[in-house]
């Protein structure tokens, strides 16, 4: 278990700044997930922690020791690559014990460790196979096994599941989470799959363009995204965004007007600075309520219906041509082309100002 501290870490490649001042403290034993769109610098950041990439400026500390100049092998960490990077000419056993051999660990202890890891990962039948003879999921387990036999203080994963099919991915997700609970090592996990992030993380770090947007537990990010980017990135299906204008009121709550003359009162502290600026309303599909009568403030035309079994996703077009996705329970009986009325419960609405910053923390 290691305490990892990043202090204003930066990375520049030929004058382009890829990682722009990341500061973060990761507690011993914590499972931290880096998410962000492709190219935002997640892998670069992870590789700097691993020592595979030089840190242009800033400090990396592990258990209080500055690690910037320490060799990758000396940092006490193990990494699992997206491509697995198994040594194809070595058997599974050799792959797993390669690092231990180089570290001159006595034979007996080495065999014990490999045996133990093979048992945990159910790799015993394959110990004498070459990686080429294994399936994708088995190779992935070998890659993980190679990482855990070394008893690292810190685990790094770079999109380890992205080459697996959906079913195996779900299975490995649970396996990794179980493994983490069992080993208790500090873990940094990179992914751009927000489901992985939500289900596995103690804390999620959302990155964009090489900088941290928000850090928090999965539910914090889900409930209180600090800006429009995080709001759109966390949660699936993605949050709906609609333009609005804030109208002046006497009350202490914000009153907003949307296209089509719909107005809502949000439980958000009123600020005069918001009046008149182009702001945005955000609401998650699962919070939009199909409603009838007085309660239904919005009307739209059903454009598409996706039945997922337990859930139904309804794509609705508003009169001003904007799209809203609604998630309904069960297999709601909706016809394409029909009119649908619905409501936005005020407690679940998010308000973002012109710069996309969340104005207050709804529900």
């Amino acid at each position: 278990m290691a305490l990892v501290e990043l202090k204003n870490i930066r990375k520049t490649y030929h004058a382009a700044e890829i990682v722009r001042g990341v500061s973060l403290t990761i507690q011993p034993g914590e499972f931290v997930v880096f998410v962000g769109p492709s190219g935002c610098g997640k892998s670069t950041l992870l590789r700097m922690i691993a020592g595979l990439e030089d840190i242009s400026s800033g400090e990396l500390l592990m258990d209080g020791r500055v690690m910037n100049a320490v060799e990758p092998a000396g940092r006490g960490l193990a990494m699992v690559f997206q491509s697995y990077a198994l040594y194809p000419h070595m058997t599974v056993r050799r792959n797993m014990e390669f690092g231990l051999r180089l570290a001159r660990m006595p034979d007996a202890e080495r065999a014990k460790r490999v045996g133990e890891v093979a048992r945990i990962l159910k790799l015993e039948p394959y110990l004498d196979c070459k990686p080429g003879a294994l399936s994708g999921g088995q190779r992935q387990r070998v890659a993980i096994g190679r990482a855990i036999v070394r008893h690292p203080k810190l685990f790094l994963f770079d999109e380890p599941l992205s080459n697996l099919d959906a079913e195996l991915r779900g299975h490995m997700r649970v396996e990794l989470a179980t493994l983490h609970r069992r080993l208790g090592a500090t873990t940094i996990y990179v992914t751009h799959d927000q489901v992985e992030a939500m289900t596995m993380a103690d804390r999620i770090v959302v990155l964009r363009d090489g900088a941290i947007e928000q850090v928090g537990t999965p539910l914090e990010l889900y409930r209180r995204p600090c800006n429009r980017f995080v709001a759109g990135f966390i949660g699936s299906p993605a949050m709906n965004f609609l333009p609005l204008t804030v109208v002046p009121t006497e009350t202490h709550e914000v009153r907003v007007e949307l296209a089509g003359g719909v107005s809502l009162t949000l439980p958000i502290h009123y600020q005069t600075r918001l009046v008149g600026i182009p702001a945005t309303l955000g609401i998650r599909p699962e919070h939009v309520r199909i409603a009838h009568g007085d309660e239904a403030a919005f009307r739209g035309n059903v454009l598409a219906v996706e039945h997922l079994g337990a859930l139904t996703l309804v794509h609705v077009r508003l009169p001003d041509d904007r799209m809203v996705v609604i998630q309904a329970e069960g297999d709601a009986d909706l016809r394409i082309g029909a009119d649908l009325s619905f409501a936005f419960p005020a407690a679940h609405c998010h308000l973002f100002d012109a710069a996309g910053v969340s104005c207050a923390l709804a529900g």
Partner: protein
């Protein structure tokens, strides 16, 4: 997906086979003939190993073969030893001028031999290598080395980068990465490069003719070229052909020996 329907493909294959094998076949037929029979155009001949017996019973043939074997193996081994680190640097590391060096190497191995012949001749005389096997090894390396570096650099370059990094995390330095990870993986490429180098030198004629004078340092291609009959009005085709065919055997044997090594796609399963 295989291109083309079976029939045109087989036809093309047959044409290619005949085109490459017919000269060999004709050499075989000729090697069974002696005297006036040599002028026969019949495409068959009764196997008669008289010519072979004559070639093999000549001690100078064996000496020439040994010279060929020695020089070609030496060039193959030296070229590989020198090319491996160079190719590793060119294929695995990025530095300024890498592309230029690779292009120069390719250019060097494409130079016509005759272009550097006179320069090499001076160099070899100064070094005191003239009429020694060393001159051949030295001269052949001029072409073998750039060629080997260029080929091997390609093999090194195609290895996945993640493998290096995994090895670095496992605690491998450059040298151990080269010997424990990369070399086993490009082993087929190393073998193929060594074989190609060996064969090029085994067949090399111009340098061997220019830089050796006496029998002691003569190699097979030159010795075959110099085979003559007692009378200067006949050319002993039968003997020349049997000697040539015998000279093709060692390379063929080597290829067969290493065939499975070359064919094995060892990188399968490294990634994904």
């Amino acid at each position: 997906m295989r291109p083309g329907s079976p029939f045109p493909r087989r036809l093309a294959l047959a044409v290619a086979l005949v085109q490459t094998l017919f000269p060999l076949y004709w050499a075989l037929v000729t090697s069974f003939r002696r005297g006036p029979q040599l002028f026969s155009t019949a495409p068959f001949a009764r196997p008669d190993f008289g010519n072979y017996r004559q070639v093999l019973s000549d001690p100078s043939w064996w000496r020439d073969a040994a010279n060929s074997l020695l020089s070609a193996s030496a060039v193959g081994v030296i070229a590989l030893l020198l090319a491996l680190p160079a190719a590793y640097a060119l294929g695995r590391m990025s530095f300024r001028g890498r592309g230029v060096i690779l292009a120069l190497l390719l250019g060097c191995s494409m130079l016509p031999q005759i272009a550097i012949l006179s320069g090499l001749f001076t160099l070899i005389s100064r070094l005191g290598l003239y009429n020694r096997l060393g001159s051949l090894i030295f001269a052949d390396l001029f072409f073998a080395l750039p060629f080997a570096i260029w080929l091997l650099a390609g093999f090194f370059r195609d290895l996945p980068r993640d493998l290096d990094e995994a090895a670095m995390l496992d605690g491998c330095g450059v040298l151990r990465r080269l010997t424990l990870i990369h070399m086993p993986l490009i082993w087929p490429g190393i073998v193929a490069t060594g074989l190609l180098t060996f064969m090029n030198c085994w067949n090399e004629f111009l340098f061997a003719l220019t830089f050796t004078l006496s029998d002691s340092a003569r190699t097979l291609p030159v010795s075959i070229g110099l085979i003559s009959a007692p009378s200067r009005f006949e050319l002993p085709f039968g003997i020349i052909m049997s000697a040539s065919l015998l000279a093709t055997l060692p390379p063929i044997f080597l290829v067969l020996l290493f065939q499975h090594r070359i064919a094995a796609g060892l990188t399968a399963g490294a990634v994904k």
